[in-house]
Symmetry: C2
Subunit: 341 residues, 2 copies
DNA sequence: GTCAAATGAGAAAACGTTTTCTCATTGAAA
DNA sequence: TTTCAATGAGAAAACGTTTTCTCATTTGAC
């Protein structure tokens, strides 16, 4: 089936089809002039021997490698995985492959990876991280190929993508209000996170005067502590909590249960991130805002492709809408549903 | 700094250094014969203009692309991430880049990715998955490049890597025994998982007659249910639980706390997977078996490299030892420590 | 029957390297 | 001086494609 050495080259194909190399090439690419019979014969032989052109040779000539680099400093997190999957999905059927480069937070390692990618003639680079308001440890503004940023801070004139956290928060709070909750408290992460400010800002905008926002850390512990703090101090208690992430929500639900407070009857809970493995397994399952990171990755992939093909792309930050994945923690007994508006 | 078009080629370099292309090449690669002065001059100019050879051209000639493919069907899981990081880490400083291919469970998609990788002349393929006893949805036994399997089932004569779960389980149980626990119960996942059988087999081997193993699912709920089942039936209660993963452990700890049973004073708990985000945040922090997946990835990377270079590698399954990461859930109040033997 | 245009197909150059071969110059030994 | 080996460096082929030319043949119109 296969030649003794490596794979079949177009040379072999041409010989087998009884034509010249140039004719073989033109036949396969539907270019040039030749008899229809010849073209079909070449194609048939190509199919029979399973000929596939060597991408290295093609790239050398065309100066397009159909390869892009994906740089990430988030080796363990749950954010980049969906982004990567989205990028990969968007590009695979255009024949573009993705180099994965895990650079931790090491600038030297980052440089090594970037150099390697450029040596391999990537058509573009997607930078992605674990936090929307932090830059990667390496400067990409001078690389000679297009760059797109996804879920990480880009330079001033760069193209970047992030989720619209304000939209996500609005979705969550509007939903709680629509289901009759009136005293909603926002328990979230450290205020120096951009996304925390976005979410809390939107929360305040919807609630209006007297909105209560509690900043803390991204942990279950903080969720518990927040609940303990609220319920052990005097005054009217909330009938809903909008939590900054799913772990905080988890802690809050646990603390409420320990106090004998029912979720969702007494207090409705909404989380953020829709981290399935947590949100769906909680009892009750957690309603949560999904940032649709896979779609974000898809968009980033399509954009880097457009740039690589020379199409103009307006610089700036593009925000993608979130989805609210409704589960039982906010009072809807029905099976899982989804809200986008 | 850079030429008007793309990057500087060896042609430009040769012109600038006042030598021929061949001399330039030989100078850079420390091959061929030439005056030391010439060699240094070429190297200096190369450094000055930041010359880097085009890997596509090199690959075309050498038939080595310094590129490998990493195939995974685990897009969201927490297992492949460390494996990928390990692979990447092992290869980056040998100048080898990694193609990430997320194929879900779709054979067609898998074939597309494999074809794309072969077109791009990868030097080898690492297949990795989410379960050690399941195959990827695509057959790799016929690809014309070396293949290594990591954390997924390989073919009969393949090279594969997995963690030594029996060793991990032994480590855990020995540790519990050494700290004085006598009535240890194993609460674990579904018996049709290979790793479940490995772990429970080792558990039984260490405990001997009368070992209690409870099979269930990989969820917190099962952990709770198991505890409820044990403590609500008559008879002597365990003084330690060895759980099949960290989620089960988490459920067990929660259920124990609700019953007023103290961890670790009354019951010691050890988990499996050392899923940091769960294990370290639990209260008390969870002692857990770490499969050292990053090291597994590293080994897989080094092996595929050896194969790509034509070195002989014995086929078979290689198992890597686990580590026990000791935290407070099993009675050691001291800071986090680690056991390997 | 003549000529131009259309058609079919191959030759050759190009992409950016590495490597082998060739050749002129130098230095030393005879 | 002559001869040989060693030295320094360039020419050219090769890797596997694509693309631009070129050329011979056929077709059609007059």
């Amino acid at each position: 089936m296969r030649g003794k050495g490596g794979r079949q080259t177009i040379r072999d194909l041409a010989a087998m089809a009884g034509v010249s190399i140039s004719t073989a090439s033109k036949a396969l690419n539907d270019t040039g002039r030749m008899g229809e019979e010849t073209r079909q014969r070449v194609k048939r032989v190509a199919r029979e021997i399973g000929f596939r052109p060597n991408a290295l040779a093609q790239g050398l000539l065309s100066k397009r490698s159909f390869t892009i680099g994906l740089l990430t400093n988030d080796t363990y997190g749950r954010f980049t995985l969906p982004v990567m999957a989205g990028v990969s999905e968007a590009l695979v059927d255009r024949g573009v492959s993705v180099f994965l480069c895990a650079i931790e937070d090491d600038p030297a390692l980052g440089q090594v990876h970037v150099d390697a990618m450029l040596d391999k003639q990537v058509d573009g680079i997607i930078a992605t991280g674990k936090r929307v308001d932090r830059r990667l440890p390496i400067d990409l503004s001078d690389v000679p190929v297009p760059v797109v940023y996804a879920f990480t801070e880009g330079g001033p004139d760069s193209v970047s993508f992030r989720s619209d956290d304000a939209h996500g928060a609005t979705l969550a709070v509007e939903w709680l209000k629509a289901s009759g909750r009136r005293r909603i408290v926002h328990v979230t992460g450290p205020e120096d996170f951009f996304s925390v400010r976005e979410r809390s800002g939107a929360f305040r905008a919807v609630i209006g005067n007297g909105a209560t926002v509690l900043f803390g850390e991204w942990s279950e512990t903080w969720g518990r502590d927040a609940v303990d703090g609220i319920w052990s101090s005097p005054g009217e208690k909330p009938d809903a909590l909008f939590c900054g992430n799913d772990q905080i929500a988890r802690g809050a639900v646990d603390a409420l249960r320990e106090r004998g407070i029912r979720v969702p009857e007494d207090v409705a809970i909404v989380g953020f991130d829709n981290w399935e493995i947590v949100a769906a397994q909680m009892r009750p399952p957690l309603t949560s805002v999904d940032m649709d990171l896979k779609e974000l990755g898809r968009q980033a992939g399509l954009t880097i492709l457009a740039l690589a093909e020379g199409q103009p792309v307006e610089p700036g930050v593009r925000t993608l809408p979130c989805r609210l994945v409704v589960r039982q923690s906010c009072g809807v007994g029905s099976p899982e549903t989804e809200k986008r508006r």
